[in-house]
């Protein structure tokens, strides 16, 4: 039982990363019908921006404001910078080819992915980097023999908070209605006075920015980052998106958390070498039974 709970906590933590990255995939897909392959690398960029802020600027930040405030500053920087990178990516790589159809867009997305990965390598070098131990909170609690770290709880709670905020914006605000309208039918939304360009820019800011937040939290949790880490997380988050049902926010959340838990339990009770096989087997079964994903029934309204 102890082992099971331990794996559950680990699964929820890793699932939070998947869910946050999956949100970006899902939002962009909802509005643009584009699978943004560069999304995983934006996640990696978030890790590196956080690393740069914490390591170069922050000895001072962490010393003056404490560990948690240093973390907040680094996260704000990652949020803004990765969001800005998302905007630039949309302007430079996607907007010029939108009119050409979906295939050129996907190719362009792959190009951005390769560009970002190599840019990170060129800037920060090919070696693995490590977040220094002093900039990460090291508090942990022992709850009935189960070890839970402050970082784990923070990651889960903050991810849930971000997802709730996003859900609120999309479902309850006027701008959210514009986003949903754009996702539903872009031409009709334009005719009804929705500024579609603003919606797209918003999506391309927020999606990558959330990925950036996930990236820095990942860096703080595992403390080890590499320029090539984006691909793996991108792939897993994409799987989570499909598992939950693409184009829908709660689905991305459910898919991410579920994938994390499945992976950890699969590794613990079957074999860690076979855990991906197990995970994808579950994905295939879900898709056979429910082709739109677990929470994908609201196919009419995709955001």
């Amino acid at each position: 039982m102890g082992v099971f709970l331990e794996q559950l906590v680990n699964g929820l933590t890793i699932g939070s990363f998947y869910a946050l990255v999956a949100l970006g995939y899902s939002m962009v897909y909802g509005v643009m019908k584009l699978i943004n392959f560069a999304h995983g690398d934006l996640f990696a960029l978030g890790s590196y921006v956080g690393y740069a802020v914490l390591v170069y600027g922050s000895c001072i930040i962490t010393r003056t404001f404490g560990v948690w405030a240093g973390m907040a500053i680094a996260m704000a920087c990652a949020f803004l910078l990765v969001g800005a990178a998302g905007l630039a990516m949309e302007r430079i790589a996607y907007r010029p080819v939108t009119a050409a159809g979906r295939l050129p867009l996907v190719v362009s997305a792959l190009g951005v992915s390769i560009f970002l990965e190599n840019a990170i390598m060129a800037i920060w070098g090919p070696r693995y980097q490590a977040y220094p131990a002093t900039v990460v909170p090291s508090v942990s609690w022992n709850i009935m023999g189960l070890r839970v770290t402050a970082m784990q709880s923070f990651i889960l709670l903050f991810s849930l908070f971000l997802m709730a905020m996003l859900y609120y914006i999309v479902q309850k605000t006027r701008f959210g209605a514009a986003i949903r309208a754009t996702a539903l039918d872009r031409e009709m939304a334009t005719m009804l006075g929705v500024d579609v360009d603003v919606v797209i820019r918003f999506i391309f800011f927020l999606g990558p920015a959330l990925g950036g937040i996930a990236g820095i939290m990942n860096g703080m949790y595992y403390r080890q980052i590499s320029f090539a880490m984006g691909w793996n997380y991108g792939l897993k988050a994409f799987t989570a998106t499909i598992l939950g049902g693409i184009g829908n926010i709660p689905a991305a959340m459910v898919g991410g958390l579920l994938l994390g838990i499945l992976e950890m339990l699969g590794a613990a009770y079957i074999s860690s070498a076979w855990k991906d096989v197990f995970t994808f087997l579950v994905l295939i079964l879900v898709l056979i039974v429910r082709p739109t994903g677990l929470v994908g029934e609201r196919i009419a309204e995709k955001v």
Partner: protein
């Protein structure tokens, strides 16, 4: 005055021509290394090491009566597919011989291509046993040791020196890590049969992952006395930290790719200290005149010395090739291979005397037990 300037011009032209001729006749050597991809750090350090070695060879007067060596680098991007392409590129560029490459699984397709094209290839980081033992290759050599030696070293050390009874071995399913783990397991068999030890855990983790808690939980439940991980340092750093956090208290021993200064950075000093590793002597522990000169030059060119033991074997491959080409008196592959097998007495590299067995393995590569001390330095272990 006029005569003088004509003479001067003649001398100048003569020198210009001779240096142009010299440059045109430079001997081309290929380096296949993972300059990009997951092992990019190793590839780039290998390239730097070979450049330093070539600089030293040039200082000593070059080869074949003063010729320089020109390096042609081919990037195999740390994967077998690009490895075949890189090998074909070097073959088509007609280099005299090749140094390369790092990963054992990446080396396999390349070694076949070099063999077919009769080109000498000296690997510097590929320690898998099967590269030399599975089939006979005429043109394949390596300056690094073989996995079985390291695995055997661990088994013997763990049982006889550390007195461990319950042994856990973990690898990551790459050719290299699995090779070391298999050899350690085979070497352990004698002790198991004699009732002196027990293999309580033997499993793989997935490389590139970051969360190993399920494997660690299983390992903890097996209650080992010693935990041997044969994979690479990015995972090793995470493993030791996650292991200690989850309550694994036994000594952690890494294979020779598991522990370096970046391991300490990733694990964090408080977790890394006390970790042991089985490996060839580190560059900083080499203290022959040649290695001192090598490290001095490396430091002045690149500010730091190599952070892992492998790049210096690439430099040694360069020294071995320079020796063999010089001794053979030509760039004919059969002549070079014959020298490498039979006439290496007197050839020294950064890691000491270089000589090869009939199969192409390096003769006599020593292994040692190292430990991460309280300051994060990796020093020789004295139990």
């Amino acid at each position: 005055m006029k005569r003088f300037s004509v003479a001067f011009l003649a001398v100048f032209v003569f020198f210009a021509m001779s240096s142009a001729a010299g440059a045109a006749e430079a001997v081309k050597i290929g380096l296949q290394a993972p300059v990009t991809g997951q092992w990019a750090y190793e590839g780039q350090m290998a390239k730097q090491s070979v450049e330093v070695a070539l600089q030293m060879i040039a200082e000593e007067g070059g080869i074949l009566g003063g010729k320089e060596i020109e390096l042609v680098v081919a990037d195999d991007a740390s994967n077998p597919k690009d490895s075949a392409l890189a090998a074909q590129r070097l073959v088509s560029q007609k280099v005299a011989a090749v140094i390369g490459t790092y990963g054992s699984s990446v080396n396999e397709p390349a070694a076949d291509i070099y063999e077919q094209n009769k080109m000498v290839d000296i690997a510097y980081g590929s320690t898998a046993v099967k590269l030399t033992m599975a089939k006979e290759r005429k043109y394949f050599f390596r300056t690094c040791g073989r996995d079985d030696a390291q695995g055997q070293f661990f088994a013997q050390y763990a049982v006889e020196v550390m007195g461990a009874k319950r042994i856990a071995i973990m690898h990551d399913n790459t050719t290299f890590a699995k090779g070391v783990a298999e050899e350690a397991k085979n070497a352990l068999k004698a002790y198991v049969d004699a009732g002196k030890a027990e293999l309580v855990y033997y499993d793989a983790i997935a490389p590139g992952e970051k969360d190993f808690s399920p494997s660690i939980t299983k390992l903890r439940e097996a209650k080992p006395d010693v935990w041997y991980f044969t994979g690479y340092y990015p995972e090793a750093g995470l493993l030791v930290r996650q292991g200690r956090d989850a309550g694994v208290t036994c000594p952690f021993v890494g294979g020779n790719a598991a522990i370096n200064s970046d391991f300490v950075k990733i694990a964090g000093l408080e977790y890394a200290k006390g970790s042991l590793l089985t490996q060839e002597p580190m560059p900083s522990d080499l203290d022959t005149p040649k290695s001192k000169r090598f490290l001095e030059l490396y430091r002045s060119n690149y500010r730091d010395i190599p952070s892992s033991p492998w790049p210096v074997y690439a430099a040694d491959a360069a020294f071995a090739l320079a020796w063999a080409i010089d001794k053979a008196g030509s760039t004919d592959s059969d002549a070079i291979a014959s020298v490498l097998r039979n006439q290496m007495e007197g050839c020294t590299g950064v890691t000491g005397a270089i000589a090869f067995t009939e199969r192409g393995d390096r003769k006599g590569v020593p292994y040692k037990m190292y430990v991460v001390d309280g300051e994060g330095n990796i020093v020789l272990y004295k139990p």
